[in-house]
């Protein structure tokens, strides 16, 4: 392994300008070290970034909360700022990984690694979070829903890094919320299915609805067809056969060592029903 530890953010961004076929950024190490152990990452160029203060920490502006890419889940779970403005987000993170992994695992790493089961993604999708990507010459903000385009494939240019995750302070204000991760046990489990949801009702009708799933496609995604169908409906007007039909168009569950596609499909349909009836 070729190893580089930049002195500061400038040096990191300068290094990222150099072309590299096999480059990995090392933050908490909870994904990369498993891949190294299993021989999936070999002879790589590793750039260490966990010591860079510019990439770490939770900050607020008048309207937004920003979470630096190398902020750990431990720090997010213990942040008073997150507790005050994004309590649903914070409470939903509680059973991620395990208490002894939350201390290392970073939110930026969770996103950059790009696993379809990444626990944080359904939440960021319903919160309409943005990602701030930076390179030496450029900086851009993209909706988190635009980040992936295939299995472990994302839109970052080789010279770009995830700088921070930005969530509006009122992103969950006034919404009924739902988050359920289904696995073989509570902690230390990789989700078979995960559903995050936010909804607002007015005079009994669904006024706003946001649904996002993980572990059911090549990458986590919203369910726009089901959202569109539900808008303006009362609970009794919802036709669940129609939802099942639309769900078939939106998810492509697979059978693997953790579960099978039929189970995943049915559990997802049931989670949606549970949320809509709550």
């Amino acid at each position: 392994m070729d190893f580089f530890k930049p002195a500061n953010l400038e040096e990191l961004l300068l290094k990222m300008q150099e072309s590299s076929e096999n480059r990995y950024l090392l933050a908490g190490g909870t994904d990369i070290n498993v891949q190294i152990k299993n021989g999936l990452i070999k002879n790589a160029e590793v750039i260490y970034i966990n010591h860079l203060a510019a990439l770490n920490g939770i900050k607020e502006t008048e309207t937004e909360i920003s979470i630096g890419a190398t902020t750990t889940y431990f720090d997010i779970l213990h942040s008073n700022l997150i507790k005050k403005h994004l309590p649903y987000f914070q409470a939903s993170l509680d059973f991620f990984a395990s208490p002894i992994l939350q201390t290392s695992a970073t939110i930026g790493g969770n996103i950059a690694n790009g696993s379809p089961t990444a626990d944080v993604m359904p939440l960021l999708l319903v919160l309409d979070a943005d990602l701030k990507l930076i390179s030496k010459s450029n900086s851009r903000k993209i909706p988190v829903s635009d980040f992936y385009f295939g299995y472990k494939k994302h839109v970052m240019k080789p010279e770009e890094i995830i700088f921070k995750i930005v969530i509006r302070k009122n992103a969950e204000e006034g919404y009924q919320h739902f988050y359920e991760k289904v696995g073989a046990r509570k902690t230390l489990t990789i989700a078979k299915v995960a559903l995050a949801g936010l909804k607002k009702e007015k005079s009994g009708k669904i006024k706003e609805i946001k649904l996002a799933v993980g572990s059911l496609n090549e990458f986590a995604r919203r369910l726009p067809k089901i959202e569109a169908y539900l808008l303006g409906k009362t609970v009794t007007e919802i036709d669940y056969n129609k939802i099942d039909e639309l769900l078939n168009l939106e998810i492509t569950p697979i059978t693997d060592l953790r579960s099978d596609k039929e189970y995943r499909y049915h559990v997802c349909a049931n989670l949606i029903r549970t949320f809509l009836n709550q």
Partner: protein
Amino acid sequence: MKINFLLNKKPVTIDVDPMKRLLDVLREDFQLLGTKESCGEGECGACTVLLDGKPVTSCLVNVIQAEGKEVLTSEGIAEEPLGKLLIDCFDETNAVQCGFCFPGFLVSSYYYLISNGELNLEKIKKALSGNICRCTGYQKIFESVLLACERK
């Protein structure tokens, strides 16, 4: 690369591959064999140590991450009053069977005592949920930590 850190309260310097796992550095370079490797993927907790006071799985920590920080292993915890208390409680409750997971459980239990310490079974279960015991001696392990919470 030269890496400095505090190991069980003593300053140490080691010239090592910065990507070497903290687990291997502890076992091979410092002969601290209390820290065990089982799954090597962060899923069992046998290699748990405290890094700057927080529990981490040392099989997923590269030694570069310890630079300038404090590492406390099960050996270091065994010298602390609360560590001694926990060992006595595990002993009294017969909570240690094969013993392989015990150093990891000791570290997570110690962290629970210093960070929370509330006499609350659900909170203890959650605090220990990253550690796995394949003798399945969980009930006695929980009883040990409850006992330590009472006595501390």
